[in-house]
């Protein structure tokens, strides 16, 4: 038996050495457990606070990138804040998470930064009950046991090395302490395709407007103030047809949000210069500051 165990130990030692070295080399970038099929959301959930929050933001990359955490936190006198915004989140996802997050974090202010792109069909896959258990657990590192996927772990850890240290790339996950990502305009290599990519209004799903209504209802029932921010589009993309479609969408969303006691903040009514964008819909850090100031003003007016 001793001989057998010794041999196993000897056989496993190179594997252990590999993983230990890998862990030490990448200790700042270790990928989060694969709770969902979204790499970004997994990182967000892993870093989510254990304590309750005063202000909570959720939505797509529009929420993660276009909302500047520092401006918001300073403007609201240092509330407990976390930005759950994540790539690919649509309104249906926001709805799935709303009840869970409100119950778990009990925020008094709930922010969604969005535009029509978030009303397209759903991409993400997750079991909301699993996410609930994961967020409620007192040690999320145990998630490595429940959601073990070594291939994913190694691959995403390598990706994290770049994404978590570069604030000037599209795939940046250079999180600030509140979960937001402020994209630096210096050194940002803008890609033509993304710069000219706008919104496809024919892909909007009717059901997402119904989901939005449900989100508003849940928040209203729990006396949580909703601030729904309509994110701007790069001026160069907007022609008359576009403007019309945006207005239709904005009016519809405003109607839903305001009928349930929420606040609709339409930033498309402001002038947005191209230098504030990194592509058709995402703002750089300066743009994020501007959007957050507009939001702060709306929050101030509501107080």
């Amino acid at each position: 038996m001793k001989h057998f165990l010794k041999k196993i130990g000897l056989f496993l030692s190179p594997i252990a050495v590999f993983f230990i070295s890998f862990g030490v080399w990448n200790h700042r970038y270790l990928a989060a457990p694969r709770v969902t099929n979204s790499y970004c959301l997994n990182e967000k959930l892993y870093r989510a606070p254990y304590d309750t929050l005063d202000v909570l933001a959720i939505g797509s990359s529009m929420t993660m990138i276009n909302l500047n955490s520092e401006v918001l936190v300073n403007g609201l006198a240092n509330p407990r804040f976390y930005n759950f915004g994540s790539w690919g989140f649509n309104i249906q996802d926001v709805y799935s998470f709303t009840e869970l997050l409100v119950e778990r974090y009990k925020p008094s202010i709930f922010i969604i930064v969005s535009n029509a792109v978030d009303f397209r069909p759903k991409d993400l896959e997750y079991d909301i009950n699993e996410v609930r258990l994961y967020l409620k657990s007192s040690c999320r590192s145990l998630g490595y046991l429940n959601y073990l996927d070594l291939k994913y772990f190694i691959k995403k850890t390598m990706e994290n090395r770049e994404n978590m240290s570069a604030p000037d790339i599209y795939s940046s996950l250079f999180f600030d302490q509140w979960g937001g990502v402020a994209l630096h305009k210096e050194g940002f290599e803008i890609r033509k395709y993304r710069w000219n990519h706008g919104l496809l209004f024919d892909q909007l799903l009717e059901s997402n407007y119904v989901e939005l209504e449900e989100i508003c209802r849940v928040l209203n029932d729990r006396s949580t103030k909703l601030f729904f921010v309509l994110s701007p589009l790069r001026e160069g993309l907007v022609d008359d047809n576009y403007r019309k479609s945006i207005k239709l969408h904005a009016d519809r969303v405003r109607g839903i949000v305001e009928s349930k006691g929420g606040t609709f903040v339409d930033t498309t009514l402001y002038k947005w210069e191209d230098k504030l964008f990194v592509d058709g819909t995402h703002l750089n850090a300066d743009g994020g500051c501007r959007l957050s100031e507009i939001l702060l003003q709306a929050i101030g007016e509501k107080k």
């Binding site: 038996m1 001989h3 057998f4 041999k7 196993i8 056989f11 190179p14 594997i15 046991l145 429940n146 073990l148 070594l150 291939k151 190694i154």
Partner: protein
């Protein structure tokens, strides 16, 4: 608990250490095995443990009763065992099927009957442990084995976790005495067991789980693809089910060897079979021999008239199909194999290929290659039935292959999974198993003198494949049976 889960990776070393830590105290080891097996099974749904306990207790007591009884009483006790075990199986596995078929049959005649509100959940592996415990009472009845007095050994035999949920379906004559014998740790047996486990994981995680992604996509929406893609779907499903089930058996056998037990072989490279009868001697051996010993022979086997033998073969294949699931697709699958089997049986050629294939040669002869290919094609028809949800789905699949056969793979893609990467493990599986066709499993190095560094490189390469080419985790297909 799944073998390919982190829970099991923690569970196994703990049980292994405790088991051998008990030294030669068989009784304590058996108690530990019962507890471990119940935890292993209860991880899915602890409520179904009661079925295993009922089955074990019934057969233990009935067999004890058979010992001193008269022949008539023995028959009665055996009947009791059959009623209890097959009754449980019937209720939990076939109730929904019979209720629905009953309603469908009446609706054919225009009478609408309300469907039953009962939706009974199928307990994992019920067909496997029911057949295993039945083999005990039947063998006691036939006086092939003495009834065992040691209840702990018997309960451990029925619930032995490595093979509890997906076999191999062991015979009491083979496995039960091992629970009463002193078990000593054997280095060679344990290390070969580990190799077999590693090979089983390769088949399950790398081959089956990857094939499953494609096969599921094709079988779930066959109307979206050309015939060429549907053929690829059959090929992939064949490797999925083989990798999945034989992988499980390899892991089960390997685990048993770690604990000092020897289980029967369940697969002997069935894809190298030269005809359908040989396929059935190589595929799910523990089940086909079970049917042979407990259904076919008692019916008279091939000793009576030709007509009787044909009837018996049909019955065995029909029951075998039905054993796989409460669905007409399995029944037709079983009958189809009977149809494939019978011509060779009637010509007396069903035992032509009992020896090794390409013996003493590196490659199969042209004739053997042709035979292997023909057998694979015949099996392909069966796999469509086996995988389809309904008979009409299967018919639609066949129809599409015949009427829309273009060599085109348009619209056939799975994100993050490229088919050329999938071909590598499938080819590796075929090549390794071909080379090892005289061995017990793909990594059976017992008769080969390969230096340790080379062997270890093979193991590390397989572990690398498990990590980097592992598919999305899927349940073992045979759990549903």
């Amino acid at each position: 608990m799944l073998f390919n889960s982190i829970d099991f990776a923690i569970f196994l070393p703990i049980i292994f250490a405790m088991y051998w830590g008990l030294g030669g105290r068989i009784r304590l080891q058996n108690i530990l095995l019962i507890l471990a097996s119940y935890v292993f099974y209860g991880w899915w749904d602890w409520r179904f443990l009661s079925l295993i306990v009922i089955s074990s207790l019934t057969d233990y007591l009935l067999a004890l009763g058979m010992g001193p009884a008269t022949d008539k009483r023995r028959k009665g006790l055996l009947l009791c065992s059959l009623v209890v075990n097959l009754g449980l199986l019937g209720v939990f596995k076939y109730y929904n099927f019979f209720a629905d078929s009953f309603v469908d049959a009446f609706s054919l005649f225009g009478t609408d009957i309300q469907r039953s509100g009962l939706n009974i959940v199928l307990p994992v592996g019920i067909s496997f442990y029911t057949f295993q415990t039945l083999s005990y009472t039947i063998d006691v009845y036939r006086r092939k084995i003495e009834p065992i007095r040691d209840g702990i050994a018997f309960f451990a035999f029925v619930s032995f976790f490595p093979q509890l949920v997906a076999g191999p379906i062991e015979r009491a004559t083979h496995l039960l005495p091992q629970f009463s014998r002193n078990r000593e740790f054997n280095y060679d047996q344990a290390s070969d067991g580990l190799r077999q486990i590693l090979w089983g994981f390769f088949k399950k995680i790398v081959v089956a789980d990857n094939c499953a992604v494609w096969a599921n996509q094709i079988f779930d929406a066959p109307e979206q693809y050309h015939g060429s893609v549907l053929l690829v779907g059959i090929f992939l499903f064949a490797f999925q089910i083989y990798g999945d089930f034989s992988g499980y058996s390899d892991i089960a056998i390997g685990l048993s060897r770690l604990f000092g037990f020897s289980l029967m072989r369940n697969f002997a490279y069935p894809f190298f079979s030269r005809d359908i009868p040989e396929f059935w001697r190589r595929w799910h051996i523990s089940l086909s021999t079970w049917f042979r010993d407990y259904v076919y022979f008692p019916l008279g086997g091939s000793s009576g008239t030709k007509w009787k033998s044909v009837r018996n073969i049909f019955i065995v294949f029909l029951v075998s199909g039905f054993w796989h699931g409460a669905n007409w697709t399995y029944v037709v699958w079983g009958l189809l194999h009977a149809v494939f089997f019978l011509p060779l049986f009637l010509m007396g050629n069903h035992r032509t290929h009992t020896g090794p294939i390409a013996h003493g040669r590196m490659l199969p002869s042209l004739r053997e290659s042709r035979q292997i290919a023909c057998t694979a094609i015949l099996n392909g028809f069966g796999w469509v039935l086996f995988r389809s949800a309904t008979l009409s789905d299967a018919m639609q699949y066949f129809r599409k292959i015949c009427t829309h056969f273009f060599v085109s793979f348009d619209g056939f893609s799975v994100p993050d999974l490229k088919i050329r990467y999938l071909l590598v493990p499938v080819l590796l599986l075929i090549v390794v198993e071909w080379i090892q066709r005289d061995g017990q499993h793909g990594l059976d190095f017992t008769n080969l003198s390969i230096p340790r560094p080379a062997r270890w490189c093979v193991y590390y390469a397989i572990i690398g494949l498990l990590i980097f080419m592992g598919g999305r985790s899927q349940d073992f297909i045979y759990f549903q049976f």
